[in-house]
């Protein structure tokens, strides 16, 4: 860009060292740049979950049919969801552990809703590499801590679905959920 001022008397406003043409050039290219960025928005946004995927983003679980000691698998955001009705013995086992000795310190209270300690709702996705742990189905191996056992790389979870042994770094994830009635939970 030539910033040399020539023929100042010809056009008013050239005294600043910026020619009218410089202004037009910068304005036009900037405006085209803004347009280009605006075009990018839908091109990138289309990769996000579509409305029909988002419509399946919540899952309702009916707790009334789940017996004590039993667990069910539901589907939440296309991933397995474990809903487990803990027995008094399992709750006691979980409470007996000192959280500070755990890899991912959490108590059973932290992982359940107040007054609903017997309902343990977690994702059925191992925090190691995403396999589905065993233990929610009838007669499946629950591992040495009586919770869940991931067959892929041997992670064992206890009755509060906390990681106790094996390569997984974190406890099974507790998704956001709320009770819509005494026996119904809306996950998501």
């Amino acid at each position: 860009m030539a910033t040399e001022v020539q023929g100042t008397d010809a056009v008013v406003g050239e005294g600043e060292g910026v020619r009218r043409r410089d202004f037009i050039n910068i304005a036009a290219v900037s405006f085209a740049g803004v347009g280009g960025v605006a075009v990018l928005a839908p091109l990138i946004n289309q990769m996000n979950p579509s409305a029909d995927v988002l419509a399946q983003a919540t899952t309702e679980v009916d707790l009334s049919a789940i017996e004590e000691g039993q667990a069910v698998k539901a589907v939440f955001r296309a991933q397995p969801l474990f809903v487990r009705h803990l027995t008094a013995k399992e709750i006691a086992e979980a409470d007996a552990v000192d959280p500070s000795t755990l890899r991912d310190p959490q108590t059973l209270e932290d992982r359940t809703v107040d007054g609903k300690k017997q309902w343990l709702i977690t994702m059925g996705v191992c925090t190691h590499l995403g396999c589905v742990p065993l233990g929610a189905g009838e007669g499946e191996n629950r591992g040495e801590f009586g919770g869940y056992f991931c067959p892929c790389h041997g992670s064992s979870y206890d009755t509060a679905a906390r990681i106790r042994k094996g390569p997984a770094p974190k406890n099974l994830v507790v998704p956001p959920y709320k009770y819509t009635s005494d026996t119904a939970v809306l996950v998501g």
Binding site: A41, P42, L43, N45, Q46, M47, N48, S50, A51, D52
Partner: protein, 441 residues
Amino acid sequence: MSFPWAEHYTPKNPVMKWVDERLPLPRLVYNAVGAGYPVPRNLNYFWNFGVLAGVALTIQLVTGIILAMHYAANAGIAFDSVEHIMRDVNSGWLLRYAHANGASFFFIVVYLHMFRGLYFGSYKAPREMVWLLGVVIFLLMMATAFMGYVLPWGQMSFWGAQVITGLFAAIPVVGEPIQTWLLGGFAPGNASLNRFFSLHYLLPFVIAGVIILHIWALHIPGSSNPTGVEVKGPQDTVPFHPYYTAKDGFGVGIFLILFALVLFFAPNSMGHPDNYIAANPMSTPALIVPEWYFWPFYAILRACTMDFSIPFTGIVIIPAKLLGVMAMFASILLLFFLSWIDTSPVRSGKYRPLFRKFFWLLVADVLVLGYCGGAHAEEPYLMISQLATAYYFAHFLIILPIIASIERPDPLPGSITEAVLAKSKNKSDAVDAVPAAAAAE
């Protein structure tokens, strides 16, 4: 590349210098669309349409690749997946409308590009190869557009596929096996849809490849210009950048404004409502028409309603259906021979008074054909189509050679610069005349 006075690429940035020494891609770009390509100084806005076609192809590639991320090429769910794109996918409606209308705009600019070439004689020596490759691109575009229109699997998609592949069934003896082979069945079905999707994704890249050849062939003699007089020296040219990047940039702005107007305010104006009805092999729509850009050729196809037979014997040489198919393909293949049909040594219609009149008649003829192609196949449109078809072929096969031999062209300017200076002199004379006239009052 083309003229000895072309500016040489001298990278200032050390990174570009490093790249250029190892892979001279920056040099290639500089010499193709940068300051290294000298272009006649007198190009008018009709020379924008090549770049605009490139812009349209880019829009089609970007939106098309994205649509393929959401579309399902399966006869059972294709229609629903398009509705899924329209309703559920983020900005899906925008991308699909941009792709559908982008096809129309691609054809609009390509038709203008072609008529520019016809008027200014861009098909003549030494640019025959540019024109031939252009016709190849046009054929590829038609095939791509047709297959793309099948993908939504609506009523028009289905019956369009039926009718167009049916054209091949007109070929004697082997015709019907060919149609079955093309469709992968006895009617359009899942196999047809899958292969059309595969080819619809492939052909645009083939088009991009032929475009590179098209531009390469163009850069050997350099761009033609409105006078049709060849470049004689450095005073006749300006560097492509910044002169024509700026001029084309302005054209791109206008193009995008018009595109956005249709895209946002009338996105279905160039489509057919029947294609929002899912494909139904049991029910044919009342009017089957292709997309508007095929109408002139569709009119030629339907214009042939009579068998070609030996008079008074009743022996049919070519049945009507085959004749229609042949005429339709011939109307495009004819363009391959144009460079040798028009033997006039003068390129530009600007200096060919007789040619100019018939050029506009041809434009009107193609528009009439287009109108008839979009209408019901009934009188008076059939009769008009027949006359217009006859005129179309007469223009190329009879009128052009005759004009070339009898026409007395207007005197050509000595050079591009001479023409430009004469024009600006006329202008300044006109400007000078105004105060003179005012003073006289």
